[in-house]
């Protein structure tokens, strides 16, 4: 980039959102600020120009990649981002691409039959606890318990992929 005016404008417009973003993921102020600094220095040194209307996606990707790099190098407390990822997967259960869902289903397969059924009704069919209790003829408390232990187990599964990885590799061979 050879345009100081555009550079300055871009900085002014996006620095705040990007810093907040990298802080949200790392929970480390110094690291978050360094990441944003690196991203802007890279932007300035880029040989080819970034299209003006593509600048925000570009900056977003650049920060994302930096955060991932620091994650791989253990530069911040990884459990924060990992917890967020677990929450995200569990919250977006129903909308996640079926291809990745294989991974989740394989986790679900490990659940006891009843627990799996309750969890799928709750997460995939968007049913309320009352509706599930009615449908299955069990108490609301049992539904709640099944959901919470199901989610917990799912979360555990997301935390430890060691024993699920071979399953995925097999899947890909077909």
């Amino acid at each position: 980039m050879k345009n100081p005016e555009f550079f300055e404008k871009t900085y002014t417009k996006y620095w705040k959102k990007l810093t907040a973003f990298s802080y949200t993921m790392t929970q480390d102020n110094d690291l978050a600020q360094n990441i944003v600094q690196d991203v802007f220095v890279d932007l300035w040194e880029r040989k080819s120009d970034v299209e003006i209307n593509a600048i925000e996606p570009y900056l977003f990707r650049a920060v994302k990649n930096q955060v991932f790099k620091h994650y791989q190098n253990n530069k911040f407390d990884k459990t924060i981002l990992e917890d967020k990822f677990e929450d995200y997967v569990i919250d977006h259960f129903a909308t996640i691409d079926p291809e990745v869902m294989d991974l989740l289903y394989s986790l679900l397969e490990k659940l006891p039959e009843k627990r799996k059924e309750v969890l799928l009704m709750y997460k995939m069919q968007d049913m309320t606890i009352d509706q599930i209790a009615d449908e299955l003829g069990i108490s609301k408390q049992t539904v709640k318990n099944q959901i919470s232990s199901g989610l917990k187990q799912l979360r555990e599964g997301l935390k430890d992929l060691a024993w699920i990885a071979p399953f995925i590799i097999l899947q890909q061979k077909f």
Binding site: K2, P4, E5, E8, Y11, W15, K16, K17, T19, A20, F21, Y23, T24, M25, N29, A32, Q33, N34, V36, Q37, F40, V41, W44, E45, F60, K64, V67, F68, K69, Y71, Q72, K78, L81, E82, K84, F85, E86, Y88, V89, H92, I96, D97, P98, E99, V100, L103, G157, L158, K159, D160, L161, A162, W163, A165
Partner: protein, 307 residues
Amino acid sequence: MIKRLKHSLEYLIDKSAKNKTTQAEENLLNDFVLSEYQNSNWDETSMGNSNEVSQNIYEGIQLRMEKKKTFKPYFKYIAAASILFLAGLGFLFQPNVANEKQLTFKTSDVPKSIQLSDGSKIYLAANSLFQYPENFKGEERKVCLLKGNAFFEVAKDKKHPFIITSGEIKTRVLGTSFHIQLSKSKCEVIVVTGKVNVSSKGQSVDLMPYEEALFSDKKITKLPVDKSLLINWYTADIALNEATLQQVITILQYKYGVTFECENKTFLSIPVTVFIEKNASLESVLKQINYITNLKFNVYDETVKVN
């Protein structure tokens, strides 16, 4: 066998770093991070004062750019020098350009500003033409005002003097801010802060703040400056209260690079109060003055006739 723990996120990130993720896995990662992006907000208590943080980050960026020498002092030393260059003479003059790739910067109806590779900032009046190298190389920082007016804020760099050629005169900045105006018959340099040297064919004057060099009929004369005219027409809105029409016209000449011709000099002492917005067009300002004074302004290219 020791069970190796690997979080699903780590699994995906590692895979993504090796470009081995499937489209669906990449989407999941991306959507997750995008939701983090969309939900992120500045939180003063955990993140601190945003102005301080912004400054902090920016300074770090500058420092690293300086180190790599691709980006010299950008904000830091600005306004080491500022000059008003009121220029016009010989705009066919070609400065000797060594190996530097030259760029031109031209304004039409409204004034604009530009930042040079050394961090110097140039505010170019309307109807002006300025030439500068893409990157400064060599001992001196040479630029050229080919037409019109400009205000310079020269970044401080003692080792590389900043030299502006305008018509037959050269303005050398010894560390400072100034204006330059070039018109068909004369060239004026007005210093706002710092020290400036103006020379032409064996003549040379040093200017201090609030001094002006007038180059006309091949002679350089040093004059004091009416301080009221040294408002920054280049960056801010201008409010002129009970100023004379002469003063208003002078400012318009700087800002829009036009010349006024007034047949009846008595008009020039008429008091007027005008407000000139930073990005106002000349037409709108003239309309305003016409409304107050009933004087008619006819614009012919870069000349305004007053009746």
